[in-house]
Structures are given as structure tokens and as C-alpha cells.
Symmetry: C2
Subunit: 287 residues, 2 copies
């Protein structure tokens, strides 16, 4: 899997660089390029593997992978703003509003969301019907009931009287991080107009495991390795999977989810080996 | 024209209300609905008339009109933020970040952009090819080289050593307000896959006249009537069409542009009467 992940990283970075280089030069473009540099590219990898499993060529899937990463980058830039999570460090570097300004961070995030939708409309992806299916599903994954909604719940939870319950956190994360991971995993079925059920089940398990692993890293992680601030949730008295389940309980739940993700991949047989490895990588990473 | 404008206002408001009502309840949804209430709906009207001229039914054009107004609403919510233009009044009411919070304003703007792209993918609009043409053109109108880019130039101009020249302001406004007006005017040709040239020329003239009228209103307007702060540009020492051309010069330029808009509509004959009236309305309005 690591070879394929490295190849996808290079491909998607090149695709993002090309798309951003086509924009007018200036601070806004610089900030967009900066926000799109680095990262694990787990979402791009999901797109590319989902596409491969459905007979979609890498060249067709690549704009979709780039769209998902551009969207993810926008969400990080806006989430890091002072009015939101107020983070000054991301991927080991100053966040966009620290390096430039809040105005530039707001505009760069806005333009990255736009760029993402534009990439989905790229003729290389497939026929118009395939592209419009992607646009509609993407709008669902991001919009009011998806990622943005999860982030709004997260912000609201900070001032709520009582810490969130396990059900509430699961629901919140299903929007905040789960919806985009699900979209990425469904890219293949969406382009090929195939049954999305197996990969939807896989994505829901992996997405939740991913968030549990993030909560574990916030407790056990090293800032020099993760490249972002750690210990923030504990300091803020925020309910997390670790605070609710304990460290061992959270690890056990993540392992159970990875087993569920494996089971969901059975219909694909050995061709889904990379996705099986990815599920493991998600909970074993240190960044 | 006024009857049709009132009808479009009611139709597009209903379409926006329906789309927003489908989202999960809460502060984010309330803020989105609030931001989408009121306004002149000039952009929606352009979409509906452009569609009618190309034989596109009102029901097909309506999601596109709603998309353009949702996008416009997002741009106002983000532009009003303290880090941007720092406005506390809009359409006679407190701006979203004043009424709720900066975090809610950022998220509501983000979700309104997403909603706009989702509306363009509505099957009611037309076949997938038509919808994907709209998505691609919309991404161009909003993205790095369109509206967001114009806003970035506007923010940069505030701290620039010298005031902008007439050419620079024309270019800036061509992005900031012109690109979305152009998209709206091209909705008909985009859906029907027809020649966009006449309406593109019309939109470029009307878009610039619209901005000149805004600059004139900032000098001559009444806050109680416009529903937004006036005199801000003069107070900030900002270069505007009025500061560069004088009040009479700006009025003459707006009139010249309206004549150019009229000329561009010749190929459509008398059927373009509403668009001719709209061009006049744009420079004669007091709000």
C-alpha cells in the first residue's frame, strides 16, 4: 500500500498545483497553494482505490481526488481561524491566517471550496451524468447536513452546558470528518454508477475509526510528529472518544471498527487489499 | 418589468426557503435562511429572463436563480465579517456575525456556497450536460479568477500605497460583482447550449453600471432607504468610480454603459424588453 500511497500523493499534489497555477498570481493564490501542500492524502487515496475497484482509470479519478483534498484543505483553513478552533499550527507550519491574515484565510478557504467543485466538472472525469452525480453527492457531503453541519455542532458543543454523549459525538463526527471520507470512498461507484453499499459501510467504519485515532493522538501524540497542537481537547475539557471510553476502550472500539471495515470489503475479494491496509494505517499512524 | 420582478422575487424566495428547510434545524440553518431573505434579486431576474429568451421553462431556471442568490448571500455574509469589510448592517438588519457570531457567519457562508452548487445539480434544471456546463461556469465565476479574486483585490487595495486607477477598479469590479452577474445573464445560453455572446456583452455593461450606481449611492444614498451603511468609501479614502470620475462623470459613464447594454440586446428584438428595463432600473434604483 505504501508505494501506491506515495504515488497518489505525488499525483494529487501535481493535480492541485496545476489547478492553482491556472489562477491569477497573488497572495490569495499563494495561500491556496500553501494550504494544499502536505498532508497524509488519505482521502485522495480512498478516491483512487475506490475508482480502481470500479474500473475507473487513474486519469479520470485524479481530478476527483484533487477536489476532495482541496475541499479538505478549505475546511482546515476555516476551522483554524480565531473565531473557530483558533489553531496556529498545521502540518508543522503556521496556519494560513497566522502567515497571511484572517481575510486571506477566509477568501482562500472560499476559493478552495469553489476549486473543488470546479474540479468535479473536469471532462477528464467522465460523461456529464457521472460528473453531475459527483457534484450532487459532494454538495450533500459538504453542505448543511454534512461536514459544515458537523463543524457547527462542534463549535456549539464548546459552549454547551453538558459535555456531549457518545451518540452525539458519533453523530457530530459522522458529519465533520465522516461525510467527506464517505464521499471519497464512493467516488468509484458514483463515476461508474455502481452499487455504493459495500464501500459506504467500509467508509463509515473507517471514518469513525479515523476520528477515534485522532482523539487518541491528541492524548498520546507528539507535537513534533503530528505537526499540530496536541492536548487541546483535554485542556478545553471537551468530550472525546477517549474521555468517554477511556484510552483502552477507544483503542478497542477502533479495532472493532477496522474489523467491520474489513468485513464490508468481502465482495471485492483480494483486489481490495490496499483499502484493507488503509484501514489499519488509519489507526496505527502517529500523525 | 416590475410585475415579473415581483413574481421572480417570490419564486426564488420560495425555492431558497425549500432548499434551506431540508437542512438539519439549528443556528446554522437559521443564519442561512436569514442571509437569504430580502434583496433586490437582480441576479435571479437575470437568470429567469436569460432562460426565457432561450426557451428554458421557469421551473428549470428556478434552481439556477436560487443558486445565484445563495452564492450572492454567501459573499455578502463573508464580506461583512470583521476581518473583511466589517459591516454591521445589511438590508436594514444586523449582519450575520453581529446577530449570531463570527463562527456562525463563516460556516453559514461556507454552507451557502455549497448549497448553490447543489442547486445547479438539480435534475429539474435539465440534462446532465446542461447542469455540468452550469457547474463549470459557476466555478469560474466564483473561483480564484472571479468573485473571490475581486474581493481579494479589494481588500488588498485598502492597504495599498496608492489609490487604484480607473483600469484597476474596472478590473476589480469585473471580478467582485461582474463575474456573478455575467454568469446569471448567461444561464439561458448555458442551459440551452446557445451562443452566449450577446448576453455576455449585455452583462458586462450592466455589471459595471451596477457598480458605478453603488458608488454613486454610497455618496448620495440614504441609509434608511439603502439598508446599509453609506459614506464608508469616502470615509476610508477609497478610490471609487465617483472619486475618479466625479459624480457627473460617473452618471454619464453609467448612462453610456446602459446604451451599450441596449445595443447588445438587438439580436433578441422586443422579447428582451425586461432586460432593457432592468438595465435602467440598475442605475435608477435608490437601494
Amino acid at each position: 500500500m505504501q508505494d501506491r500511497l506515495q504515488a497518489v500523493k505525488a499525483q494529487v499534489q501535481a493535480a492541485l498545483d496545476r489547478a492553482i497555477a491556472a489562477l491569477p498570481p497573488g497572495e490569495l493564490r499563494d495561500a491556496m497553494a500553501y494550504a494544499c501542500t502536505g498532508g497524509k492524502r488519505v482521502r485522495a487515496f480512498l478516491v483512487m482505490e475506490s475508482a480502481r475497484l470500479h474500473g475507473v482509470a487513474d486519469d479520470a479519478a485524479l481530478p476527483v481526488a484533487a477536489a476532495v483534498e482541496a475541499l479538505h484543505a478549505y475546511s482546515l483553513v476555516h476551522d483554524d481561524l480565531p473565531a473557530m478552533d483558533d489553531d496556529d499550527l498545521r502540518r508543522g507550519l503556521p496556519t494560513v491566517h497566522v502567515k497571511w491574515s484572517e481575510a486571506t484565510a477566509i477568501l482562500a478557504g472560499d476559493a478552495l471550496q469553489t476549486l473543488a467543485f470546479g474540479l468535479l466538472a473536469d471532462p477528464a472525469v467522465g460523461d456529464p451524468a457521472a460528473r453531475v452525480r459527483l457534484v450532487a453527492a459532494f454538495a450533500q457531503a459538504v453542505g448543511g447536513a454534512g461536514m459544515v453541519w458537523g463543524q457547527a455542532l462542534d463549535i456549539a458543543a464548546e459552549t454547551a452546558a453538558a459535555p456531549l454523549t457518545l451518540d452525539q459525538i458519533t453523530q457530530l463526527q459522522g458529519g465533520k470528518t465522516g461525510a467527506l471520507i464517505r464521499f471519497a470512498a464512493l467516488a468509484g461507484p458514483l463515476i461508474a454508477d455502481a452499487d455504493p453499499a459495500p464501500l459506504a459501510a467500509y467508509a463509515d467504519a473507517v471514518g469513525l475509526a479515523f476520528q477515534i485515532a485522532d482523539d487518541i493522538l491528541d492524548v498520546t501524540g507528539n507535537e513534533d510528529v503530528t505537526g499540530k497542537r496536541v492536548g487541546k481537547d483535554v485542556a478545553a475539557g471537551k468530550a472525546t472518544f477517549v474521555s468517554l471510553l477511556g484510552l483502552d476502550g477507544a483503542r478497542a472500539e477502533a479495532a472493532r471498527l477496522i474489523a467491520a471495515a474489513d468485513a464490508a470489503l468481502v465482495p471485492y475479494g483480494p483486489r481490495a487489499g490496499n483499502l484493507r491496509h488503509l484501514a489499519r494505517f488509519v489507526i496505527e499512524r502517529d500523525t
